[in-house]
């Protein structure tokens, strides 16, 4: 009698078990916290005034390159402003615009999603048709359109981005609420005679907060890129305020002569923020509700 142990590949290839680290994504969180910290304490941390420059000091390279100095650690831009200080203050802009826009989008989207799904009927139809239409236009195009109408300013950008991205929220939240509607505790509340508003506020809302949070972290990355794109095109945050996207636009001026730090550094900041937000969002999605995997 042979007693053998046979690993059984289901295919001709040996497959390893899918290992998903359920561990907390430390680095992304630290990066985001760092950016937040920098954003809050920008005034103290930045070595120079981000909006003041002297043409005599333009296009200085970072400290470790020839021609650079410790005074301007990451070099200067085309009007002599300190890149590091601008990056630091740019963090503030990105943080403010990003989180505010996400709040606005999330707030409107969640609200309308709940109302639409719970009330149903023509309210639902109307809101859904609007959402579909909105979604038909790519967010960037729509944002550009709105920006051309109302003009660029930090506040306008927040409103515009919020107004463009709420539809993504509404869609997802609506789906959640539709299935929540059928759950026991909601039906009980209806039977108990609770008003629709009460049910939506006390029963439905707390249960979609999870999804809303996950969406928020995922949306943060998208919004930051959108803001950077708009600023790059010149219709985002207006100069001379330091926004990373704007720095990239300015950086283009020095690109052809190889002043790489004006392009690479702001982009890395954007990437760091977006990547961290995405990773955090992915982890949150798994942690808070496995059902959200389809997001």
């Amino acid at each position: 009698m042979s007693v053998t142990t046979h690993p059984v590949p289901a295919a001709t290839r040996q497959r390893r078990r899918f290992w998903r680290t359920e561990g907390f994504p430390l680095i992304p969180f630290v990066i985001l916290a760092l950016i937040l910290f920098v954003a809050i304490f920008a005034d103290v941390l930045a070595p120079h005034d981000p909006q003041v420059g002297s043409l005599a000091r333009r296009f200085r390279p970072p400290a470790w390159q020839q021609g650079g100095s410790m005074e301007y650690l990451l070099g200067t831009d085309h009007v002599g402003r300190d890149v590091l200080s601008r990056l630091i203050f740019g963090a503030r802009v990105s943080m403010i615009v990003g989180t505010a826009a996400v709040f606005v989008a999330g707030g409107i989207g969640t609200l309308l999603g709940i109302v639409s799904a719970y009330l149903g009927g023509w309210v639902d139809q109307v809101i859904m048709r609007i959402t579909d239409t909105w979604l038909a236009l790519p967010a960037l195009t729509f944002a550009i359109f709105l920006s051309a109408i109302v003009g660029p300013s930090e506040f306008n950008i927040i409103v515009i981005l919020g107004g463009v991205y709420w539809t993504r929220y509404a869609r997802v939240i609506r789906g959640e609420v539709l299935s929540l509607k059928e759950r026991e505790f909601v039906r009980l509340a209806v039977v108990a005679g609770c008003s629709k508003r009460l049910i939506m506020w006390r029963h439905i809302l707390p249960n979609v907060i999870n999804s809303a949070i996950v969406l928020a972290t995922l949306m943060l990355g998208v919004v930051v890129i959108a803001e950077a794109s708009l600023s790059f095109l010149g219709i985002g945050v207006p100069p001379p305020k330091p926004a990373w996207g704007l720095m990239l636009a300015d950086g283009k001026k020095g690109l052809m002569v190889g002043y790489w730090w004006l392009t690479v550094l702001p982009g890395l900041c954007i990437m760091a923020m977006v990547l961290s937000a995405n990773l955090l969002g992915d982890w949150l999605r798994v942690k808070l509700d496995p059902q959200l995997r389809q997001l």
Binding site: M1, S2, V3, T5, H6, P7, P9, A10, T12
Partner: protein, 338 residues
């Protein structure tokens, strides 16, 4: 046994091991089964008893988390566990075929019936498209699908449930396998269709000399279709033998309870007899008999020591301490544990 059995599973065990290696689910536990050519074996058990896993084990199509840890699978004299992946692939569909439970899901919605029925023929016998197509029409005819010439160009969603299941059956016999495993083939069919389907299977078996393993939780089907029966519980075979003998005189308390739970017309309207308790959690089995917590006849030893399979003569076995006394009087003991 005067002839060599077609297929013989000896002490076969397949376990699922969790990622960290801590939880072990003994999905198939020391299963010993023999089947001769042309015979029908019914494997019966509750959900989670391991019947479907056993089928996949025979075909070596377990998911990556599972592994066969011990035993042998002798098919036509060869140990299937010694086969390479490529050899196994050539056996699947050609010498051993399987029918799945849900015919709608088993048929690919994007390909025609003719394509899917002819596929095994093209792959295993190297037939051309034209030949396979003709054979497919013939196969549809043999599973009693009307106007096969038209049907063969159609798509799965255009068929009724009963027809789809026949098509899956046609796929199964397309390369004239020696063994056909049917995993709950009638569960998704209407009762009226079930009967027709079962008689079709019987006819096919007779015509082609197939051995049939029928997996089901329906004792009625077993009674009608099968020569042998194996009752599974918690991954183990608790009783085995000729259907008639076991139905008349079940040796294992679980089998008894199963048979008792079938309401009969002659009963005087008393409560339905269900089996108390729940099937066990296969990852945390105690050392004793798996059925002991629910067994009406359990005694001390049952909870502590798992019984081996006792031979009861005439090809019957029972995994129960109660059977020990009956087995003790018959020779050729404990062949399975060697």
């Amino acid at each position: 046994m005067s002839t060599e059995p077609l297929i013989s599973l000896e002490n076969l065990s397949a376990h699922y091991v969790s990622q960290q290696g801590t939880r072990v689910v003994r999905a198939v536990d020391e299963v010993t089964i023999r089947l001769n050519a042309g015979e029908t074996l019914g494997i019966v058990g509750e959900s989670g008893s391991g019947k479907s896993t056993l089928a996949l084990t025979i075909l070596r199509l377990l998911p990556p988390a599972a592994r066969i840890v011990s035993g042998r699978m002798m098919f036509e004299g060869e140990n299937l566990l010694d086969k390479s992946d490529e050899e196994m692939r050539r056996i699947r569909g050609k010498r051993i075929a399987m029918i799945l439970q849900d015919p709608m899901a088993s048929l690919n919605p994007l390909f025609s019936i003719g394509d899917q029925v002819g596929e095994p023929i093209r792959v295993h016998e190297g037939a051309t498209r034209a030949t396979a197509w003709k054979r497919a029409i013939g196969l549809l005819k043999s599973v009693r699908i009307p106007s096969p010439e038209t049907r063969v160009t159609q798509f799965p969603h255009e068929m009724s449930g009963g027809m789809r299941q026949r098509i899956v059956g046609a796929i199964g016999i397309s390369c004239e396998p020696r063994l056909l495993i049917a995993d709950e083939p009638t569960t998704s069919l209407d009762l009226t269709i079930q009967a027709q389907y079962l008689s079709l299977l019987s006819d096919l078996q007779r015509q082609h000399g197939l051995a049939l393993i029928f997996i089901t939780h329906n004792l009625g089907i077993i009674a009608r279709m099968c020569d042998q029966i194996a009752v599974m519980y918690a991954g183990r075979v608790v009783e085995q033998g000729p259907v008639r003998d076991i139905f008349n005189a079940p040796a294992h308390p679980y089998t008894k309870a199963l048979l008792n739970s079938i309401p009969r017309m002659t009963d005087n309207h008393r409560r339905l007899k269900a089996i108390d308790g729940q099937p066990p959690d296969l990852s945390s089995l105690s050392g004793g008999c798996a059925f002991a917590p629910r067994c009406a006849s359990a005694f001390g030893r049952c909870h502590v020591e798992a019984p081996p399979e006792f031979q009861l003569g005439n090809g019957r076995t029972a995994r129960c301490w109660l059977a020990e006394t009956d087995a003790g009087s018959s020779p050729a003991l404990a062949r399975s544990a060697a």
